[in-house]
């Protein structure tokens, strides 16, 4: 490994924060907005290039669990160090972030109100996301996790939208508050578990490398894992704690929805793997049936709830709840097939949902409604939007050729190796997806075009760019999944208690 390899992860984490700082210090006039946007976009692409470097340099034959390790002592008295490193699972998540973040910046190009602050918060959020994925120290992992979550409050609360439904109203303040209270509640559980692990291991170290070797005794593992599972699972949309998520989507602006469903929810699942299963393996094994049960409810409940929604974004929100269920199911199998599928599903769902929110945002941006009953025949005025929505919809319902199919297939295969009945249920859930996705497509895009929508514009250039890029990613990973799967597999291989 050369010098750059040692510092590439630090650079990746520091870059968004440095960008945020630079934007804060930027002599901020509204005439500078264009250059600030360009600056953010370019920096986002630089971090994408860094991730590409990591992908290319990742060594399949290395055999050691973590690569690109860099360790910097920070607070020796408490055993806290700024330790970074990635395994295959983290690399897959980095790839996801590296695609979703520039996409979100591009889609957020049209945000006019206080866009400087908007960009600062987006950068903070993504810095936290990158940090969480690459931290090998629980203190910093938690620190970055919190940084990733908290900007959501402002992003939804200020830039979001409030919507009145026939029987209730979702104000952006309500959704933002709900989201943050839920996630902070989860954080409490996570923080308690981390402290408990620190004390129980008695190694005076927050380093994951140490803690993963600590060999906690069974009774300890059995009470700590559920705390982690609930704490992180919350952010992943684990039923019945998913309820912040659809509301958050409905109120959030487009690019925030993209990052929220695309990347943030993956932090939760990632936490379950990294802090949960990898560090507390026997606890995970003992509690897997509960995770399995809740994941199964996620899949079925989410898809049935999505069927009767009248708001475009609620459908996608509940669809996310349903799709994240496959991640939990895959993890609960503790089988190579299932866990690999779960991680691939995290990647694939992130891209797919980002695409879907881009298109829903384009519809809302020009028609100012997301009411499925009011929209019809949009394919005539926005053919490109309709095309990409069909791509996203079919990717979502698990059409082979798109990445979601491979991911879900692996989850199914893993489930049938371990819990065949749940596997059958999961396949049925994927079947229901077709019902609500095609309903959406038929109602919103097909049929006669309502006169109100005759003059709607098609996707703007930035939206076309993003949609094309995301759709292409879905297709490439769907047809040639081996590249990503080889990386993920290298990470899954090191997860204890995973068999097969």
């Amino acid at each position: 490994m050369n010098g750059f390899d040692d510092s590439v992860l630090s650079l990746l984490v520091v870059l968004p924060f440095a960008t945020a700082l630079a934007l804060i210090l930027w002599p901020g006039d509204s005439d500078q907005l264009r250059s600030m946007k360009w600056f953010s976009a370019v920096v986002a692409l630089v971090s994408t290039a860094l991730v590409a470097w990591i992908l290319l340099r990742f060594d399949y034959t290395d055999g050691s669990q973590y690569q690109f390790i860099s360790e910097t002592a920070w607070l020796d008295q408490l055993g806290i160090g700024f330790d970074l490193g990635v395994d295959g699972i983290a690399v897959a998540m980095l790839a996801l972030t590296a695609i979703a973040f520039p996409a979100a910046i591009l889609v957020g190009w049209n945000v006019d109100a206080r866009s400087k602050d908007y960009l600062i918060l987006l950068n903070l959020l993504v810095g936290g996301v990158y940090g969480t994925f690459v931290s090998l120290d629980l203190f910093f992992l938690f620190f970055f996790y919190e940084i990733a979550v908290l900007p959501m409050y402002l992003l939804i609360g200020f830039w979001g939208s409030s919507t009145s439904f026939p029987r209730f109203t979702r104000s952006k303040e309500y959704s933002a508050m709900k989201l943050v209270l839920f996630l902070v509640g989860g954080s409490v559980l996570i923080w308690v578990s981390i402290i408990a692990m620190f004390v129980e291991a008695d190694l005076n170290s927050f380093s994951l490398l140490d803690l993963q070797r600590a060999g906690f005794d069974e009774s300890f593992q059995n009470w700590v894992f559920p705390l982690l599972m609930i704490g992180f699972g919350l952010l992943g949309g684990l039923w019945p704690l998913h309820t912040w998520s659809p509301d958050g989507h409905v109120s959030a602006p487009t690019s925030v929805s993209m990052l929220h469903a695309g990347v943030l929810m993956k932090l939760g699942a990632f936490g379950i793997i990294r802090v949960g299963i990898q560090t507390i393996p026997e606890g995970a094994e003992a509690w897997a049936p509960l995770l399995l049960g809740m994941g199964a409810v996620n899949v079925i409940y989410g898809s049935i709830a999505a069927m009767s929604q009248t708001d475009l974004k609620y459908v996608i929100g509940y669809s996310s709840v349903s799709h994240m269920g496959y991640v939990f199911l895959g993890l609960a199998t503790m089988h190579t097939l299932g866990v690999t599928g779960a991680v691939l599903q995290m990647f694939s769902h992130g891209i797919m949902t980002a695409l879907m929110f881009t298109l829903a945002g384009a519809v809302y941006g020009s028609s100012h409604t997301r009411d499925i009953g009011a929209l019809s025949g949009l394919a005539k005025v926005m053919p490109v939007g309709a095309f990409f929505f069909a791509v996203a919809g079919f990717a979502s319902l698990g059409l082979p050729g798109f990445s979601g199919f491979v991911a879900e297939l692996l989850v199914f295969l893993g489930l049938f190796q371990t819990y065949p009945w749940v596997g059958a249920l999961a396949v049925i859930g994927a079947g229901i997806t077709a019902v609500y996705m095609l309903r959406l497509l038929a109602k919103v895009y097909f049929g006669e075009t309502d006169p109100r929508w005759e003059s709607l514009p098609d996707l703007k250039l930035n939206e076309k760019l993003v949609a094309g890029m995301l759709a292409l990613t879905l297709l490439i990973v769907g047809l040639a999944p081996f590249y990503l799967i080889d990386i993920i597999r290298e990470g899954v291989r090191h997860v204890p208690t995973v068999t097969g």
Binding site: R167, F168, K178, P240, T243, W244, D247, Y301, I304, A305, M307, S308, Q309, H335, T336, L337, T340, G377, A379, K380, F394, L397, L399, P400, G401, F405, V406, L409, L410, F412, L413, F416, Q417, P420, G423, A424, V427, I428, A430, G431, A434, V435, L438, R439, L441, A442, Y445, F446, G447, E448, T449, P481, F482, I485, D486, R489, G500
Partner: protein, 617 residues
Amino acid sequence: MGTDAAFLAPVIPAIAFALILITGRRIPGIAPHLSIAAILASFVVWVVVFLAFLEDGAGTRSVEWFTVGGFEFTWGATVDEISLVMLGVVSFVAIGIQIYSLEYLHGEPRLWWYFAVQSLFAAAMMVLVLADNLLLLYLGWELVGLGSYLLIGFWWERRSAAEAAKKAFVTTRIGDVALLIGFVLLFEATGTFDISTITQLAHAGTIDETQLKWALIFIFGGAAGKSAQIPLHVWLPDAMEGPTPVSALIHAATMVVAGVYLVVRLFPIYNMVPEALDLIAVIGLLTALLAGVTALAMTDLKRILAYSTVSHLGFMMLAVGAGAPGVAMFHLLAHAFAKASLFLGAGSISHGSGQTDIQEMGGLWRRMPFTAVMFWIGALSLAGLPLLSGFFSKDEILLAVHDGRLNDGFLVVTFVAVAFSVLYTGRMLYQVFLGRLSTENEDAHEPGIRMWAPIGVFALLAAVLGPLAFEWGHDYHGFVSWVTDSEEGFHINMAISGASIAIVAVGLYLTGLIYMQRRISATAIQRRLGFMATAAQRKFYFDEVYQWGINQLVLPLARLTAFIDRAWVNDIGVDGPGKTTRWGGGVLRYLQTGMVYNYALGMVIGAVVLGVIWWSI
């Protein structure tokens, strides 16, 4: 060599699809060229592969796709008799259909999109046909479903077309859920998707019997969805919302036979599980019968043809269930060309006369003699008129039911189903072409060459393919034996053939009396039949039952779930604690009065309570 080249057959149309997507909208008129050139190239590939097959015999070639844990997933092609028959039919029929579409859809603004999807469909169908493993087969299977969805919904501005497309995809998707469960069950038992390995392991007895049985039954569920078997047949008649050439290609000749193809492909495994074959036979026969009856009650020409397709798919399934996959393939071949010419003929009629309802037609042979003759050939072939190819294939089905593993009850019902296919054919032919030409159809006219040529070619094939059934030499003991790689020659059962010919004669005579000479009144028969006629006209209420299920069960469940999510999970679970806290704060704030004597009183009470506790201990 042959198997290597076979890869090209799906790849070329796939490339054409990508090219059309990129250039189709910008360069007007390029899409049809790309698409037709690609499908012609695929056909050439088929010829090359077929010739190589005659030299080298069957073969399989596969490459690794990805590996997880100890499991390898592959992409590969199998070239054997079954896949070659299918590949030939698909590429050949697709050529004719695409050329026909040039004229039929002339002036259509989205023509480039039509040809893009045609190429996508061709590629997917060839993947399905050639796949050597269940995973790749599933990929092709779902993508042909996508092609079908997009083409049924080609005129998506029409609400009915959009709904029909959705209905087709969702209905087949129900089957596909079962299909995937079946595939995954087989994977669980064997650790592979490779069809020949699974077959070997099944024969070696390493797969648990119950698991194998259920896997096969589930897989048949998928086949039933795609091949429109009862009760999943409801989507096919509605699929006629698509352009007529699409109905000919996808919903008659190629995609809908995928289910039949699948059970034929897996027949060596199905053959080990009698229960699964029984199920296939029963469902197939039921489908053949009910769809035949329904076809007799329909008045829309394309819908009659659609129900006829459902009925014939039932016959094919019945043949498989009887233990004769080769016969199913033979009927598939005969049906493909006959039905393609019929649908194209129907398209030519609606193109030339503007009519779709057979009651509005009549005497059309005067204005469209060529179409009429070709239509008669195709229809009579399927009705089983001697010497046309359908006669041979239908005879073989009856023979298989008679000789095979099924009991005699099946044979009787099969004859009844055959009788209905003669009746609806006769009714259709007489009403459309004979009788008086109505004044509004005076202007009906024949189509141009790009439409009539494909009709003629398909009708010709439907007429002459019959002798393929015979034994031609030492290497060829008749089509059925060739397809299934057996030595058994072709034979004829005089009693069955005689009965079959008699049914055709009587059926055509009877319908002639009713619909041509009008000696017997159709409405009188209808009245006599009472509710049975109504039931047939209402398509045996399948749609009504499903609609009831959706309206009364599925949607309420969805609404209930959404309600629970808002009212319980959110309003009680989330807002509840929030409101309780606020309420609690509101109540408790009275405790903080800020007045010293209140706090002093509290201290005194506390001290007294503590004192009492201390005393009592």
